[in-house]
Symmetry: C2
Subunit: 191 residues, 2 copies
């Protein structure tokens, strides 16, 4: 986890408006070495919970969920934005994107999220927790077992951890940011 | 490549309207074992071209591009649907989704697709080639070198290969479908 913090400290950029730019290695141009480290840390942390499925919302968190699933020997499941032509019965949750502002329906095929499944929800960022809480609700709606939430970066002041508290499962973030200063570029991590 | 064909033959489903449902292992619920095989085949096929970057359009092709990049020791780059708040200067291409019908802008940050880069374009499907041709044009627009196109599944009758011919680079598909019958469920592969 220290390596994840150090990479964000070195290559992350604080932008006006409280945005953290990590798109040079995490969610636009992807460094497989970094994603591999993050997947290793998340898979080790949740191995004892024996997840059978790692769920995320497309698209930014896809590779983190995939790497975590790959290292756990589990499947990865991507909630899609809008039902597609090839999707049969779907579990649907509507939410508003915090970065883009538009409303989207998150959809998971009911064929692929079933009772008996042990599900870990993973994403690149824990911000306000809106998307992850929607995914958590989908897991419960499907009658599957939610075993935890894992994130690469948590923005602690945004309150995402509080939004997920009602699920009463472990919430792990590899890097927890407690403050950012757009003027100086300083990022303050917890711990 | 035989393993890829066999998996599609076994677990793929032909739907009315010419859709192939492979969302149980390739693009919705993901089997990392299958994606690993596909990434291995694509990375071996293009290793001699020494790609520094594997480009795809979010979201379905993300993990295939990521696995190919990971096995090549290259970066993965995801063209995003719509510019985001953290994206500075962007290369943009507008296109219409063949499965969803809506128009989207594909955007790549100009910071991450530069002259001197050797770029392999990868996606899960080669259908009409619209998305891949747009990505190819972005590569040329950036002054980078396009080294090839790689796909997991090609629907030969849709003409995607012809749409990419103008780029004069190798086009490889791991499984080439020449015909599908929605009534019988039969999928006919080339070769």
């Amino acid at each position: 986890m220290r390596a994840v913090v150090e990479r964000i400290r070195t290559d992350g950029r604080v932008l006006p408006g409280g945005f953290l730019r990590v798109d040079g290695f995490l969610n636009h141009r992807i460094d497989p070495g970094f994603v591999g480290l993050a997947g290793d840390a998340l898979s080790r942390a949740f191995a004892d919970a024996r997840p059978t499925c790692v769920l995320t919302a497309e698209a930014a968190g896809n590779v983190i969920a995939y790497e975590t699933a790959r290292q756990l020997g589990a499947a990865a499941l991507y909630a899609k934005k809008g039902a597609t032509a090839t999707m049969a019965r779907a579990l649907v949750c509507r939410l508003r994107s915090p970065t883009k502002g538009d409303e989207v329906d998150l959809c998971v095929s009911a064929d692929y999220l079933c009772a008996g499944e042990r599900v870990l929800v993973v994403d690149d960022f824990l911000h306000r927790g809106t998307t992850s809480a929607a995914l958590g609700d989908m897991v419960l709606q499907a009658g599957a077992e939610l075993v935890g939430f894992g994130f690469v970066v948590e923005k602690r002041p945004s309150g995402g951890r509080e939004a997920l508290a009602r699920f009463r499962v472990p919430v792990l973030s590899l890097a927890v940011i407690v403050a950012m200063d757009a003027d100086t570029g300083e990022i303050v991590f917890a711990g």
